[in-house]
């Protein structure tokens, strides 16, 4: 699999998996049977958390998000704790731990305590299938894409438990909204990913990265529409603005998190970022070529390329959060069913047709570039046409009010001003 890798030495920084392999092989000789699996799991999780998840959560998810949104909002963002405010996330965490974890009197205590745990566990599991580098994938199972989808459908239940158990009307609102939204957005999400699966003919994330490496093109370019739909759907499932109706601050206070405080809330907050990072990592793997960068991965450690891409995709979430207003819940549902799902189906038809043509032509590499150009053009056209078909008429909306010189009472529409 890794023919181009320069060395297999444990000190090769380009592939940190060598190191863990050396450790495990050495451990296998002395330790009793079975323990080495546990050790491998521990090493995998600890390494992926220490290298990627925790630093990313703290310094991209918390600090970076606040700083970037601060700049978008023409203010400084955190700049008090530590150099450039870099220690702000740690100060936040300390503050959260000191806070009292309140539980409302008539709440369902057990469910309320279990919900954060049930929320955190899938986030940890998600990173098991993300390929950080050529060998650096903890569980290289053949259906890792489906694994990712399956695990990422679990946190909604935790959200529901949190919202329902708190015995608060706002929480219940949030719970109902998130359940409805997840049902709606799972469908176009899977449909859009199906396009990527069809063109790369694999369900394995590592296989998709290798496909991108082989054809020297990102799947996001071949499947631009799928990338956009994935981004929208995933931001809906992650409750990121503009689709954060489940914890819409200005409407239902904090949605399902209204009654949570202290570290119980902190777990939800931290793992929200964890899920967003996992979704970004998934998008970077499927659509942006994972740890490859057109040959650069021979010189730069691939995991650095991968983390860079992930954070770049994560910045998109921050950007939309700082720019867009929130949709109403019924509009959001209508958007999923009337807009995203048909577009995803169109996209699927196109990509299946392309796949047929491609197989007729003996899988010629040049065709992929042709498909990419065609798909980019057609996607733009399709989005615009479908929007028009659904009644999108931006020119009909007046941007300026009518102007009247005299105070003369009611001026009917169309009357000369």
């Amino acid at each position: 699999m890794t023919t181009f890798l320069a060395t297999d030495n444990w000190y090769d920084l380009r592939d940190l998996a060598n190191l863990s392999r050396e450790i495990l092989e050495a451990a296998d000789k002395i330790l009793p049977f079975g323990v080495v699996y546990v050790l491998a799991a521990v090493i995998g999780f600890v390494a992926s958390f220490l290298i990627f998840v925790l630093p990313s959560q703290l310094f991209v998810g918390v600090y970076g998000e606040r700083k970037l949104i601060g700049r978008i909002q023409s203010r400084y963002g955190p700049n008090r704790v530590g150099p450039f405010g870099l220690l702000q996330p740690i100060a936040d965490a300390i503050k959260l731990m000191q806070k009292e974890a309140l539980t409302p009197t008539r709440s369902d205590r057990l469910v309320m305590y279990v919900a954060p745990i049930f929320f955190v566990a899938p986030a940890v599991l998600l990173f098991a299938v993300i390929p950080f580098g050529p060998n650096m994938v903890f569980a290289d199972i053949p259906v890792s894409l489906m694994y990712f989808l399956a695990i990422s459908s679990l946190p909604v239940l935790a959200n529901f438990m949190a919202g329902w158990s708190a015995n608060n009307k706002y929480s219940l609102f949030g719970a109902i909204r998130i359940v409805a939204m997840t049902i709606s957005y799972e469908t176009p999400l899977v449909m859009s990913l199906l396009g990527a699966v069809v063109i790369s003919s694999t369900l394995s994330l590592q296989g998709m990265v290798l496909w991108a490496d082989e054809y020297k093109i990102w799947l996001g370019l071949v499947q631009p529409l799928a990338l956009v739909i994935y981004f929208i759907c995933v931001s809906a499932e992650l409750n990121r603005t503009p689709t954060d109706i489940a914890e819409a601050e200005s409407e239902i206070v904090a949605g399902y998190l209204t009654e949570y405080s202290g570290m119980k809330w902190g777990l939800f907050y931290g793992m929200d970022i964890g899920y967003a990072l996992a979704a970004s990592a998934f998008a970077a793997t499927v659509f942006l070529g994972g740890w490859t960068l057109f040959g650069l991965e021979k010189w730069v450690p691939p995991w650095i390329i991968f983390i860079g891409k992930t954070h770049l995709f994560y910045a998109l979430f921050i950007w939309t959060r700082g720019t867009l207003p929130r949709l109403r819940s019924d509009q959001l549902m209508a958007f999923a069913w009337k807009f995203l799902l048909p577009l995803a189906l169109f996209n699927l038809f196109i990509v299946v047709t392309e796949r047929m043509i491609w197989s007729e032509e003996g899988y010629d590499k040049a065709y992929i570039y042709l498909f990419a150009i065609f798909n980019i053009l057609v996607s733009g056209l399709l989005v615009f046409a479908w929007a028009r078909f659904n009644g999108y008429r931006p020119d009909d909306v007046p941007t300026r009010p009518r102007l009247v010189k005299e105070a003369r009472g009611y001026v009917p529409l169309g009357e000369n001003e």
């Binding site: 053949p142 489906m146 399956a150 909604v156 359940v179 049902i183």
Partner: protein
């Protein structure tokens, strides 16, 4: 299937699945029952992984945990608070007796039969499953898709209110 890991995994999964199934039976609150049901589904998915059917396991989690239980939760929320208890009818005792008898029969059959089994897991990939579904079983596959569509339409028709139908009749 030998090996320490597999054995431990089996007993843990069996405990989780059956205890959660029992939880569905005994919990008074319907929503707690749903949460136990989720746990049971996850346990069954674990069994599928253990039986080297990854695709089915993932499909199980996506469809059962991600979709069906969410639907059930929705149905529970749509019915009022008063009808959220999970109590038994007068048929509880006969039903349980029947279940116990059936369990006895099943267990007898399972343990009394000399199963002809393979020792190693057959090499089944997701690709094989795809070929089977779209090759050998293509007709049932299509019928299943028609069934899904019919269910979709039927579910929508069932839950429409009289006002909505009146609105559509006018339009």
């Amino acid at each position: 299937m030998d090996g320490f890991g597999v054995t431990v995994a089996f007993w843990i999964l069996a405990a989780v699945t059956l205890v959660a199934g029992g939880g569905v039976m005994v919990s008074r609150n319907l929503l707690h029952a749903v949460l136990f049901l989720i746990l049971s589904f996850i346990g069954v998915a674990g069994f599928f992984v253990l039986l080297s059917a990854e695709f089915i396991a993932m499909a199980q989690v996506i469809i059962y945990v991600g979709a069906i239980t969410v639907l059930i939760l929705f149905a529970v929320l749509l019915t009022p608070r008063a009808s959220r208890d999970n109590s038994e009818t007068v048929w509880a005792l006969p039903g349980m007796l029947l279940a116990v008898c059936l369990a006895a029969i099943f267990l007898f059959v399972v343990h009394d039969t000399q199963w002809k089994t393979v020792t190693d897991a057959p090499l089944l990939t997701t690709q094989d499953l795809g070929h089977a579904l779209l090759g050998t079983w293509v007709l049932p596959f299509e019928i299943a898709s028609v069934l899904l569509t019919a269910a979709l339409v039927g579910a929508i028709m069932l839950t429409r209110s009289a006002e909505e139908e009146a609105e559509d009749a006018l339009a």
